[in-house]
C-alpha cells in the first residue's frame, strides 16, 4: 500500500466507550499478582472529587457508557457514593470493582441509592486465602461471603472474579460451586496476566499445561450443566496467553475503546500501559478530547504504521494488532515488537521457556513478592 500511489483513508477513530477510574492505589490487600505499577508508592497526589467529576463529564460527552470504579481498593475513597451518584446521573452504567474488604451493608444500600448498577467482588486470593475461603474459615473471607450475599439481597447483579494461578486452579470445581451457591450472575476465572506484580512472580504463578487443561475441561462441564438447567450464571474462563500460539487482541486495539485514568490523573489506553517508556498525558493538563484523539501516547500504537516485521506483512494483524504492547516491552525491551506469545515472534522462546519452567516450578506461595508499600519502595527508583 505504501508504494501503490494511493492510500486508503485511515478509519475514523471512534470515541472511548469504556472508562476505568482507578480511584486510588491504596489497598488493604497485598496480592502477589497485582496489576498496579511496581512503583505505585512513588506516584503523585490523588485526583479530587471535583476533578473526577470533570473527567466523567468529558468522557460521557465523548460517548463513554460503561464506567468502572477500581483501584487499589475504591472503597478507600470516602467520596465513592458521591462519585457513583454523579456518574449515574450522567447516564453511565456504573460498575464497582472491589475486594469486598471495607464493604458494609450500609454502604451497599447507600451505593444503591446513589444509583450503582453492579458490584464485582474479586477474590484475589493467594493459595492460603482460597483455602480459607473454601473452608469457610477466617474472618476476612467470612466477610467476603457475607458481603456477596448482601449484594444479592440488595438486588444488584453480581460478578465474582477469581484470579487463578498454579496454587488454586486445581480447586476450580469448588470455586465454581461456591459462586453458584452465592447466586453470582457471572464468574470470571482468569489466570493472572503477567504484568506488574505477576511478572515478578511468574515462576510461582503460571499453571502447568495439564493444570490448565483440567480446569478448562471442568469449567466446560459446569457450563453444560448450567445450560441444561436453564441457569443464567455465565462462566468466563480466561486462559493465560502463555499457552497460545497467537496473542490476544489487546484491549480491542490500542486506544480503540478503552480509556483508563490512574489515581493521579494519568490517562492510559490500558491499565498496565504505565510501565511503557511513553509519557502519557494527564487529565489535569489536557482535555480528554485532546488526550484521546490527539495525544502522542494514545496515537503511538494506533493503526499499523508502527509495526515492524513480522507483524507488518502478516495477514493476521487486523485480528490481534500484534498483541499486547506491555508484554512485548516486558519480554523484548521494545514495545513495538510482536508480542512474544506469537509463534512468529523471534522472541517466542521466552514463552516456551516459561512453559517449561511451569512444568517443574517448586516456588511456594510464601516465596512470592507481595504487593505492599515496602516492596514497592524498594522497587521504585524515585
Amino acid at each position: 500500500m505504501h508504494n501503490s500511489g494511493f492510500s486508503l483513508p485511515e478509519p475514523i477513530q471512534g470515541p472511548p466507550l469504556w472508562l476505568l477510574a482507578e480511584l486510588t492505589y491504596k489497598c488493604p490487600l497485598q496480592c502477589p499478582y497485582c496489576s498496579n505499577p511496581l512503583d505505585f508508592a512513588g506516584h503523585g497526589e490523588e485526583l479530587t472529587t471535583a476533578e473526577w467529576v470533570t473527567v466523567f463529564k468529558q468522557a460521557r460527552e465523548m460517548g463513554a457508557a460503561q464506567l468502572g470504579f477500581s483501584g487499589g481498593e475504591p472503597l478507600v475513597r470516602q467520596d465513592l457514593a458521591a462519585l457513583i451518584g454523579e456518574a449515574r446521573n450522567l447516564g453511565y452504567y456504573t460498575n464497582l470493582i472491589t475486594s469486598g474488604i471495607g464493604l458494609t451493608e450500609k454502604k451497599i444500600a447507600a451505593f444503591k441509592d446513589a444509583g450503582l448498577d453492579h458490584i464485582q467482588i474479586s477474590f484475589q486470593a493467594s493459595d492460603a486465602e482460597v483455602n480459607n475461603l473454601l473452608a469457610g474459615s477466617q474472618k476476612a473471607f467470612d466477610q467476603k461471603l457475607k458481603m456477596a450475599r448482601a449484594v444479592k439481597a440488595h438486588g444488584y447483579p453480581m460478578v465474582l472474579n477469581f484470579v487463578t494461578h498454579r496454587h488454586n486452579i486445581d480447586q476450580i470445581d469448588r470455586i465454581i460451586e461456591l459462586c453458584i451457591a452465592l447466586e453470582a450472575d457471572a464468574v470470571e476465572l482468569a489466570t493472572c496476566q503477567f504484568y506488574g506484580w505477576a511478572e515478578l512472580n511468574r515462576a510461582g504463578l503460571l499453571p502447568s499445561r495439564a493444570q490448565l487443561e483440567r480446569a478448562e475441561r471442568i469449567t466446560n462441564e459446569y457450563r453444560d450443566k448450567l445450560a441444561a438447567e436453564g441457569h443464567h450464571c455465565k462462566l468466563i474462563f480466561v486462559t493465560p496467553d502463555y499457552y497460545e500460539e497467537r496473542p490476544k487482541p489487546c484491549m480491542g486495539g490500542w486506544g480503540s475503546l478503552f480509556l483508563s485514568v490512574t489515581p493521579d490523573g494519568t490517562a492510559l489506553p490500558c491499565h498496565s500501559a504505565r510501565q511503557l517508556p511513553i509519557k502519557f498525558p494527564n487529565v489535569r493538563e489536557h482535555s480528554l478530547q485532546h488526550i484521546w484523539y490527539d495525544s502522542f501516547g494514545f496515537n503511538r500504537f494506533r493503526g499499523d504504521d508502527w509495526m515492524p516485521e513480522p507483524c507488518r506483512s502478516c495477514d493476521e494483524k487486523e485480528r490481534d494488532f500484534g498483541g499486547c504492547r506491555c508484554q512485548a516491552y516486558l519480554l523484548t525491551g521494545d514495545a513495538s515488537q510482536a508480542d512474544p506469545v506469537c509463534a512468529k515472534s523471534a522472541h517466542h522462546d521466552v514463552i516456551l521457556a516459561a512453559r517449561e519452567e511451569a512444568e517443574t516450578s517448586t516456588l511456594a506461595i510464601d516465596q512470592l513478592s507481595f504487593r505492599n508499600d515496602r516492596t514497592s519502595r524498594l522497587i521504585c527508583k524515585g
Binding site: M62, G63, A65, G68, Y93, D117, H118, Q120, P157
Partner: protein, 96 residues
C-alpha cells in the same frame, strides 16, 4: 415464574433482567443494552421491541402495538417472537 420457556407465549409478560439497562446513546446514534461490564448495540427493530418491554405489556400487546405502528411490515409477529426468544436465551429478559 416460568423462566425456563423456549418460545414465549402471547400471554406472557417480558421484562428486562435486573441489572440490564436499555438506553439511547447519542455518540453511537443507537439504542444499547447495558449490563455488568458489557454493552450491545441494537438495531432499529430490536430497539422498537425493547422500548415496549416494560414488565407490564404482554407479548400480545407488544405485537399489536408494533403492527399498528408498522402496518406495511410483513411477518412482524414472527420477527417479534424470534427476537424475544433470542433475548431470553441471552438472558437479557425474563418472562412472568
Amino acid at each position: 415464574m416460568s423462566d425456563n420457556v423456549k418460545t414465549p407465549s402471547l400471554d406472557q409478560t417480558p421484562r428486562l433482567r435486573p441489572g440490564y439497562r436499555f438506553q439511547w446513546e447519542p455518540a453511537q446514534k443507537a439504542h444499547v443494552l447495558l449490563y455488568p461490564e458489557g454493552m450491545v448495540k441494537l438495531n432499529d427493530s430490536a430497539s422498537e421491541i425493547l422500548k415496549l418491554v416494560d414488565g407490564e405489556r404482554k407479548v400480545a400487546d407488544i405485537i399489536d402495538t408494533l403492527k399498528a405502528r408498522f402496518p406495511a411490515a410483513a411477518d412482524i409477529d414472527e420477527d417479534i417472537l424470534g427476537f424475544l426468544e433470542t433475548a431470553h436465551a441471552q438472558f437479557w429478559i425474563q418472562f412472568t
